[in-house]
């Protein structure tokens, strides 16, 4: 059984009059990769810095391991941070940067050397040790910053948007590398980002934040397929919302009425995870439908094949070609819909009047009482 390694209990914080953290509670499993995801100003960096000990905990409690760390100074929390702009000391070379913390601890020189060797090996930066931060590239600085943190063998690794200063290609490759390294070292990691793709790709658990509050905590597929609310649905990935009223709930599925049409929902819940908010008849709800869950059909196939459900007449307005997919702007049910078609056939664009089919198993129901 996984145990909680970092526990945040009802933590609040204000900067002046603005409440940047509003009774946040979160448990982080040992050895897991947890991401704090949210738009800028949502409080994610503040939360991370509070865990690191740069900000005082004004209200609530933070535990690392068994220990309450509210009043423990930053360096005794064994939670080491990698900064967004790396914060490499410009007056030291790479070797001195990486070994800085060990030297402060007054560790014997031979031990420092050994640890430096290992860590620099992990991150493939042995050839950079005698240079200064100004002389190496952004990607290399990133590795050095990581090395400087990892060499401390922290219990908890804190990463503050460490990839945001890298170019797009490098970001994707370091993303994978960072995840593999974390898996190998099994180090509890808390990662802050505003990039939902990064969060989905790297995390075991994602906590989505908005306005100082946690909106949802769950696995990447939880937050992607089963968002608790409209904010999470639209922040993580792209989504179509359709408002409606629940007509009936049965084994056959949930019948939702919207603008005179009925949409059938048969959402599958993973084993052991019942729906968070099972829909009730008569309830006002919002359907969250991912663009890739809608298919475009030029001519509807025989009714039997589709069981005649969720097929709607509509038109294609516009499209953009994105390589692995095409995104269409269509109109149906009196609404604008986004549709992603993956693995598109070249020169076979959909245009004009078409039929849309929405996969009943891939529709998620969000009660409007929450949104």
């Amino acid at each position: 059984m996984a145990q909680a390694h970092v526990i945040i209990r009802e933590v609040s914080k204000c900067f002046g009059k603005t409440k940047v953290l509003d009774t946040i509670s979160l448990e982080i499993e040992k050895g897991s990769f947890t991401t704090l995801l949210g738009p800028s100003g949502c409080g994610k960096t503040t939360l991370l810095r509070t865990i690191a000990g740069f900000y005082d905990v004004e209200q609530g409690e933070i535990f690392i391991g068994e220990k309450k760390v509210n009043d423990v100074p930053s360096h005794l929390r064994n939670a080491v941070m990698v900064f967004q702009d790396y914060a490499l000391f410009p007056h030291m070379n790479i070797r001195e940067n990486i070994t800085y913390g060990l030297r402060i601890r007054k560790m014997p020189q031979d031990e420092i050397e050994k640890k430096l060797e290992t860590t620099a090996g992990y991150l493939d930066i042995k050839n950079l040790l005698d240079r200064t931060p100004g002389e190496i590239s952004g990607g290399q600085q990133q590795r050095v910053a990581l090395a400087r943190a990892l060499v401390m063998e922290p219990e908890v690794l804190l990463l503050d948007e460490p990839l945001s200063n890298l170019d797009a290609k490098l970001r994707v490759s370091i993303r994978a590398e960072l995840r593999q390294l974390q898996q190998r070292l099994k180090i509890t990691t808390i990662y802050v980002t505003h990039d939902q793709a990064e969060a989905l790709a790297m995390s075991d658990t994602i906590a989505i934040m908005k306005g100082g509050k946690i909106m949802q905590v769950g696995s990447p597929s939880d937050v992607y397929y089963r968002p608790d609310n409209a904010f999470v649905a639209s922040f993580v990935g792209t989504v179509n919302f359709i408002d409606g009223t629940v007509r009936s709930v049965s084994d056959e599925g949930v019948e939702v009425e919207t603008g005179g049409t009925t949409i059938t929902v048969r959402e599958r819940q993973p084993a052991g995870k019942p729906a968070a908010h099972p829909p009730l008849p008569g309830e006002k709800i919002t359907l969250s439908i991912r663009p890739e869950s809608i298919r475009i059909v030029e001519h509807p196939a025989p009714a039997a094949a589709f069981r005649d459900e969720n097929v709607f007449r509509g038109t294609i307005k516009d499209y953009i070609f994105e390589g692995s997919s095409i995104r269409y702007w269509g109109e149906a049910l009196g609404k604008e819909l986004l549709i992603d078609v993956f693995n598109p056939v070249e020169n076979a664009l959909h245009t004009g009047d078409v039929w849309f089919r929405i996969d009943p198993e891939r529709i998620h129901v969000i009660p409007q009482s929450i949104t």
Binding site: A52, A87, Y100, I104, R148
Partner: protein, 536 residues
């Protein structure tokens, strides 16, 4: 984008700027070097008095620079990095001497701590002789630590707090953090500040002339040569001895330290969260800052008391006769005001124009204009003063005893600050504004008038105010150029102090201070945030 110059009015403007720089900066400098004969230079090494004076200057340079930089750093660190109480007040008090004539510190300390000193004799009953190197050391420390403070405050502020967070996160605390991160990062800034202070200490004339007594330094010795012996060649040689180290310091400061700076400008400045300072440290810093601040305030207290008592040291009764006398019958004050206003405005106009040309246009002599506009910052006031006195008081150009010579010296001594402000301002204004205007058909001068001028109003105004204040408070530049006909207030204060007329001198200094602080206050009131002084 810089455009090659093709338009006629612009060419004339460039010609005018280059001509002025040649005539009023380069020519006087050259004159100083050519006035003495070869023999005058050689004899320096046999002249024991010159050598001793040079050594004295060196000694003060080391002592005052060290103490002023040290105190400046303590203030800057306290203000930017600690939660010591009263930081705002400390900062405010530190800024006061920057708007005051530098000799004022010496003058006031003579009244406060001298043989008839209000504090030493009056309150403590001591018999203290403040005249000499120790008095000078104290006065220069107090007069120039604000310069160091200002530079280092900027440096400390621009060190990313993330670096200190990182250090703390990795285990460095308190003094360890200071020793391994904060101070090493500030070191280039400290060096830069020390060099700036050194230049000022070296060039300082006002303090040593008042307080150093028989202990002569290069600047005062040059004055003595002229005043006592009419030995202009000797004064020229001495001022060259002053100029050379000054230039070295200046160029080291500009081109070497500037390049070594760690200050990186990152877009996103994190909220600085000042860490709690250790209790002992906090009180040590507080005590030092409070003591120094008190010394600064005493300068002003001394002057104000001095202006309102009948006879310093023997008759402490209240009087307004000195102030009344100054306000109604001081032609020196009228000269000070009018000359400085004209010089301040001309200087700002000239330096902004030069900055515009250098940053926006391509023309032969552009590098010359850039260099020559910066040069006066490296010149000791004494040196420029001697230059003007040699260059412009004999036929064909004889301006002896005129207002013109004083105004000209004030204008060109001050172009560097204005020029630097201007260059900074033009760097911030995107050239695409003028490119857009040019694209729409506006000529160069029209662009300057309609696009650039509105955008640099703030910097222009700031440099006008700064030049005005520097002009009205300067003594070293005008001391060689003043006669009874064109004397300004600072010159008259010097003479009054040396003749022992403290009351009148104090009153005149107070009026100068009121003008100078009033101008700053008024400027802030009218222009608000648009005026920024001190881009060091």
């Amino acid at each position: 984008m810089k455009h090659r110059v093709r338009e006629r009015p612009l060419s004339l403007l460039i010609f005018f700027i280059v001509f002025c720089l040649l005539a009023f900066v380069v020519y006087p400098i050259v004159e100083v070097f050519f006035y003495p004969k070869a023999n005058d230079f050689v004899s320096v090494f046999h002249n024991a008095r010159y050598m001793r004076t040079a050594l004295n200057s060196l000694m003060m340079l080391v002592l005052s620079t060290l103490s002023a930089t040290f105190i400046g750093f303590i203030f800057a660190y306290t203000v930017t990095r600690t939660d010591v109480p009263g930081r705002k007040a400390f900062k405010f008090i530190t800024l006061l001497p920057l708007f005051s004539p530098p000799f004022m510190v010496s003058f006031s300390y003579i009244m406060m701590f001298g043989r008839n000193g209000l504090i030493t004799k009056g309150f403590l009953g001591l018999d203290v002789n403040i005249f000499g190197w120790h008095g000078l050391w104290l006065a220069q420390t107090i007069a120039f630590f604000p310069v160091a403070f200002l530079v280092m405050e900027g440096v400390l502020q621009s060190i990313s707090p993330m670096l200190e967070y990182a250090g703390r996160n990795l285990g460095a605390n308190g003094f360890t953090l200071f020793r391994t991160v904060t101070f090493p990062l500030a070191r280039p800034g400290v060096a830069g500040a020390a060099l700036l202070v050194a230049i000022q200490v070296l060039a300082d004339f006002g303090n040593p002339i008042m307080i150093s007594g028989g202990f002569s330094v290069l600047a005062t010795e040059a004055w003595m040569r002229v005043e006592g012996w009419a030995d202009i060649a000797g004064a020229a040689v001495l001022s060259i001895m002053l100029l050379v180290p000054s230039l070295v310091l200046f160029f080291v400061q500009r081109y070497w330290v500037g390049r070594k700076s760690y200050v990186t400008v990152t877009g996103k400045m994190a909220q600085v969260n000042i860490q709690k300072t250790g209790k002992v440290m906090k009180w040590v810093l507080f005590t030092v800052c409070a003591a120094v601040s008190l010394l600064v305030l005493l300068v002003y207290v001394g002057l104000i008391v001095g202006a309102f008592v009948n006879g310093w040291g023997y008759d402490w009764t209240f009087t307004t006769r000195y102030i009344t006398e100054i306000a109604t019958r001081s032609k020196e004050l009228v000269h000070s005001l009018s000359y400085s206003a004209i010089a301040g405005f001309s200087s700002a106009l000239f330096s902004m124009t030069a900055a515009f040309l250098v940053s926006r246009k391509k023309f032969p002599g552009r590098r010359f204009v850039d260099f020559t506009c910066m040069l006066p910052a490296a010149l000791p006031g004494i040196f420029l003063g001697i230059g003007y006195s040699i260059g412009f008081t004999r036929p064909p150009v004889d301006l002896y005893g005129t207002a013109t010579i004083i105004i000209l010296s004030m204008i060109f001594w001050n172009i560097s600050t204005g020029y630097q402000t201007g260059i900074g301002a033009f760097q911030q204004i995107s050239p695409s504004f003028s490119e857009a205007a040019s694209n729409l058909g506006a000529g160069s001068l029209r662009i300057f008038r309609e696009i650039e001028i509105p955008l640099i109003k703030g910097p222009f105004f700031s440099s006008f105010i700064m030049s005005f204040i520097r002009a009205i408070t300067t003594l070293s530049v005008i001391v060689f150029l003043s006669t009874s006909k064109n004397a300004v207030a600072t010159f008259s204060i010097m003479n009054l102090v040396s003749d022992g007329f403290y009351g009148k001198a104090a009153a005149l200094t107070c009026v100068l201070l009121v003008i100078s602080f009033g101008t700053i206050g008024l400027a802030k009131l009218i222009m608000g945030k648009q005026v920024q002084f001190f881009k060091v």
